[in-house]
Amino acid sequence: MPDGRPTPEQLLKQIEREEQKSRRGRLKVFLGYASGVGKSATMFEEGIRRRARGEDVVVGAVQARSSDEIQQLLLKHEIVPARNVDGRDVIDLQAILARHPQVVLIDGLAYENPPGSAHAYRWQDVSALIDAGISVITSVNLQYVGELQDEIAGITGKRTLDTVPKSFLEQADEIVITDVPAEESLGRMGSADEERSLSRLREMTMLLAAEVVERQLQTYLHAHGIEEIWGTQERILVCITPRSNARQVLESGKRNADRFHGELFAVYVRQPRLSSEDQTALEKNLTIAREIGAQVEMLEGPDSVEGLIRFARERGVTQIFIGHSKRRGWWNQLRGNPVERLIDAAEGIDVRVFPQEPSW
């Protein structure tokens, strides 16, 4: 079990990774929720500032139909023009590699290359540039993220084939959102429906960026051997027992995890000698947990409270959900009420105790 401290192998891997990284270029992504939010302008302005600081910057791709503002900014840049193949713009990979600048600006990451190109997608071209030690600054619209297509179609009614995988964005060294109110991205007063759609895309953009940042934070903490619960992201642990009314607790856990955009775990500590009746009830509860999308974990150990707390600390759990204890009387006096023992032990973690009987 990881205790937060890296093993020698991990350290070695990390050093290799870092060495490899230092030879590789860096990837910086400007993420916006729609066209017209100003990603491109922000990117070209950054390019100009970098040039002023002495960095060797070129532009490797420009979007068709650029505004006057963009045209003005481009006057201050060196451009390696894209090639036009079958009416599509393709980055001139060979020319950029030959020119080998420190930084290349690629406006618009989500393009499908025409058949016969070296790579099927532009993001793969970008990957090749980074491998060659050239840093890339690029812009992308949330609506082109591959994994989000279903959700986006639900909002805008549109899908696209020119996509970028989310995993590629997650590997970015830096991701920055370009945010403006919905009304401004439209350039006019929108209808309530338009504004609502754009607001939802805005929210998704912020959350995607937060996810990437969370990964960076975890990597940083891990690399520095810092084991601390930051509680920036909510992580909810639902305790599963054979007899508990797990559906209610799990559904609440799911709702809370969704609302706070957090993670959900369902944990069962194995108990010896379950009756077949209990075994069936338990299986049912675990099935519900999986259906709901919780990460299901089985723990071993003589003391369930201890096991739960250890697991919770390892995973940075912020809230534990559990049903009210059913046992009364002599059992509690002998062993202590398990819910109360859990509360006592859970310093730094919230405990949410649920009614025995569903309240609705």
Partner: protein, 374 residues
């Protein structure tokens, strides 16, 4: 009301530029957009601007009218504050106000700058302002845990809810640290101090994540409001107020959950003696401070009288159809007086028909718990 008033809305609109640290570019962005507005012929003035000796930001104020600040003397030192009355007289269409969370010098008409802003909005003036999300009251504990710093100047969440627009001004911690090192944010000695404290990479990364999530929440709250009659939840939340210092944290947490669930929220103190005034003064003051704090966040407060605290609290919860009771975690067994541990245990036994949330202080070890200032 004058005639010119009728040309814009009866109540001004508030726009907030949000970020997570000084130097992120909030003011710069606000001024840039104000310049654009001015070119369009809109009557926009600067009500308060904090130059911080940042040359590129100062350049962006060029051509914008500034309403002179008010000079105030306090304990022999001269201070300058925003001149709200002068802005009201000038009555522009849009007023720019930097540093929303600022606390005014004692003796000012209003103690907080956000109160000045509310007065401007009331008068029909649109206000654009800047704020870092760590000043949001409900994030206070999380910010302490991340940065080790208890932010003293806070803005209640309901005030931010008044904003018709929020904009996230995003920047990477790397870029921010570089700006600081280049001297673009603070003077050299202050920059060095900042780098050693608040501007540590992991602190900035965590604050940024917090800010992005909060901004997403603010955006969500706005589009669900304009959505088709958002179903209000059936949840009702009760926060148990005591004299314990952890109560401030408990109130913030309960309030935050209520906000997310769009649930109604009560803060309740059960007084074990018949007259509140007969409580030992230290305890009474602590309870009053906590109740005031809850009121300040616009939470309904109640004082009940009963020597059986747990029984009365749960009975009240049932009468009010409360679905969730929030209690403070009784810390470690050694440090917590027995009666309080027993109280949690008693409430758990009585309130088997509702959710009981035992909230733990998520502080890093060694950071003291503090009560709110007000």
């Amino acid at each position: 009301m004058t005639e010119s008033r009728d040309s814009h809305h009866s109540h001004g609109r508030l726009k907030v530029y949000l970020s997570y640290a000084a130097g992120a570019g909030k003011t710069y962005r606000m001024l840039e957009e104000a310049q654009y507005l001015r070119e369009q012929g809109v009557d926009v003035v600067i009500g308060y601007f904090e130059p911080h000796k940042r040359a590129d930001t100062i350049a962006k104020t060029e051509g914008l009218e500034t309403v002179p600040r008010r000079k105030v003397e306090y304990r022999g030192t001269a201070f300058e504050e925003m001149d709200t009355e002068a802005i009201l007289l000038r009555s522009p269409a849009v007023c720019l106000v930097d540093e929303f969370a600022h606390t005014n010098i004692p003796g000012s008409a209003r103690s907080k700058r956000w109160e000045d802003v509310l007065a401007l909005l009331e008068a029909g003036i649109d206000v654009w302002t800047t704020m870092n999300l760590q000043h949001l009251e409900s994030l206070n504990d999380q910010v302490l845990q991340i940065s080790g710093i208890r932010v003293r100047e806070t803005v209640p969440d309901w005030v931010i809810k008044q904003a018709s627009e929020v904009v996230m001004v995003d920047v990477t911690p790397d870029a921010l640290i570089n700006r600081l090192k280049r001297g673009a944010v603070y003077e050299p000695d202050k920059a060095e101090q900042a780098l050693a404290n608040f501007f540590k990479e992991q602190t900035l990364v965590a604050l940024r994540e917090l800010a992005l999530r909060q901004a997403a929440h603010e955006v969500e709250a706005r589009h669900t409001e304009i959505g088709p009659a958002a179903a209000r939840s059936t949840d009702r939340i009760l926060i148990h107020v005591t004299s314990d210092p952890a109560t401030a944290m408990l109130i913030r947490r309960g309030h935050r959950v209520a906000d997310y669930l769009q649930a109604e929220c009560f803060a309740v103190y059960v007084c074990p003696v018949s007259d509140f005034a007969n409580l030992p003064s230290g305890e009474r003051e602590a309870v009053e401070r906590h109740l005031n704090f809850a009121r300040n966040l616009r939470i309904e407060t109640r004082i009940l009288n009963d020597e059986n605290v747990a029984e009365r609290l749960v009975e009240f919860a049932r009468q009010q159809h409360v679905t969730q009771i929030f209690l403070a975690h009784p810390q470690s067994p050694v440090r917590t007086p027995r009666p309080r541990r027993e109280l949690v245990s008693r409430i758990l036994q009585l309130a088997r028909d509702m959710q009981v949330i035992v909230v733990a202080e998520r502080r890093s070890p060694g950071v003291p718990i503090t009560a709110p200032d007000s």
